[in-house]
Amino acid sequence: MNRRSGTGYTGIPPWIYAIAAAGALFVLLPLVAMVAKVNWPQFIPLITSEASLTALGLSLRTSAASTVSCIVLGVPLALVLARSPFPGQRLLRAFVLLPLVLPPVVGGIALLYTFGRQGLLGRNLELAGIRIAFSSTAVILAQTFVALPFLVVSLEGALRTAGNKYEAVAATLGAHPTTVLRRVTIPLVLPGLASGAVLSFARSLGEFGATLTFAGSLQGVTRTLPLEIYLQRETDADAAVALSLVLVAVAVAVVGLSHRRPHTSTAPQGAPQ
């Protein structure tokens, strides 16, 4: 009865498998239910309607842009958090990670009071002729805000695992810190950076609350796929379900991508100290 194929003793009590199966079902069943609800004959027309394609295109564009901003802002943050101890570092990390646990709507409100027309920075930007509210920039800001922690967490972990022995050697070989960063550090943590970027992209793609609160909803400008789904649900449940499935498909592809590690090259050769 308990003669499972495969090798080795797992040490897992049998009843754990039952609960694990229930847990897996809990996640899978809603997806199955949604797939079952899809109006298949209409599926293609529904997801290729102009509104849907515009929303999907906007989602992909803004998510790509926010992933880039996550990399630009997140790499230095992760480096500082992982490598250079300074007073208040734990506090800074806690704040950077805050959007992970914050309801997105709260993020939206916070962004509104920062970049909004009457916000802390927005007021000055407005004077300079830069308007963020109701633009795709606002969407990217909202997505970056919620997605940044994913990149920082991934990358900081990778940086800590890698240690800084290689950097020390590179420096004694005459490499300027910027050269070390470009030619040693970044290549070493590339897998961690890539998986962080993929996660940020996934989170950006799913961003809803902060966008709704901060950016508004206008076809082709600020109405991303999640907002389109939310709106379609008012009138056309079939369209909402079909678009949800598209989002699930994209998300599954992203998860698959982040799990496919080409090679773990960060392990140093020789005996660890």
Binding site: F134, S154, L199, G206, E207, L212, A215, Q219, L231, V255
Partner: protein, 270 residues
Amino acid sequence: MSTRKHVTFLLVAGALTAGVAGCASGAPATGSSSAASSGASETPKLSGTVTVFAAASLKATFTKLASDFEAKNPGTKVTLNFAGSSDLVTQITQGAPADVFASADTKNMTKLSDAKLIDGTASNFATNVLEIAVPPSNPASISSFADLAKPGVKVVVCAPQVPCGAATNTVEKATGTTLTPVSEESSVTDVLGKVTSGEADAGLVYVTDVKTAGDKVKGIPFAESDKAVNTYPIATVGASKNKDLAKAFIAAVTGSEGKKVLTDAGFGTP
């Protein structure tokens, strides 16, 4: 390495649910069921619990009406569930235990009656019209509906898919004014939010919303609003287990006291 993969998976899962959860923001159906006994129909004395599903715009008025009703009928309890009308229709269709449904438009009520999920016919108990909401300082100096079409004015409206957006479209057609909104929100609350935060110069919301917002926004009524009058119907849900209490509550809403509460809040009479 494997720990890191697990963390990755959790993060991905988190990233996805955060998005999906946002899409399903509808309030869950309140789980209370009617506690009425079979004897309730024999005695005129009302008792038990009545669950009322009401459009979000009715929150203030129905909360007051419910407590008045409970005070007047000791032993009764009114449980309220507020959400967008279409969300409520979905919930009732999926079997949520509602006794009374009050919709913000006839379209959603028709969906339920077409599905034979209401008892008898719905009665209209209130009307609502659009009003322009502007920040208290009225930065774009809006004074008429036509002003909304001026270049440079940041107008936020409801998306055509939702009732307030449909009403906006009707007014646009009637007046021959074409608006180029900076955002088409999926709920009237979101429109109001953009105005109270000062992001938008003006928004089209219901008269009652302006009233509820108090001095955070300024209301600018416009003559053409009568081109799109929104009617609020109320009905007993077919599956109700306490129809007497449901009918009594509906009577209270449509009666003179109910009318007064609604009128005070800015609603019109049908």
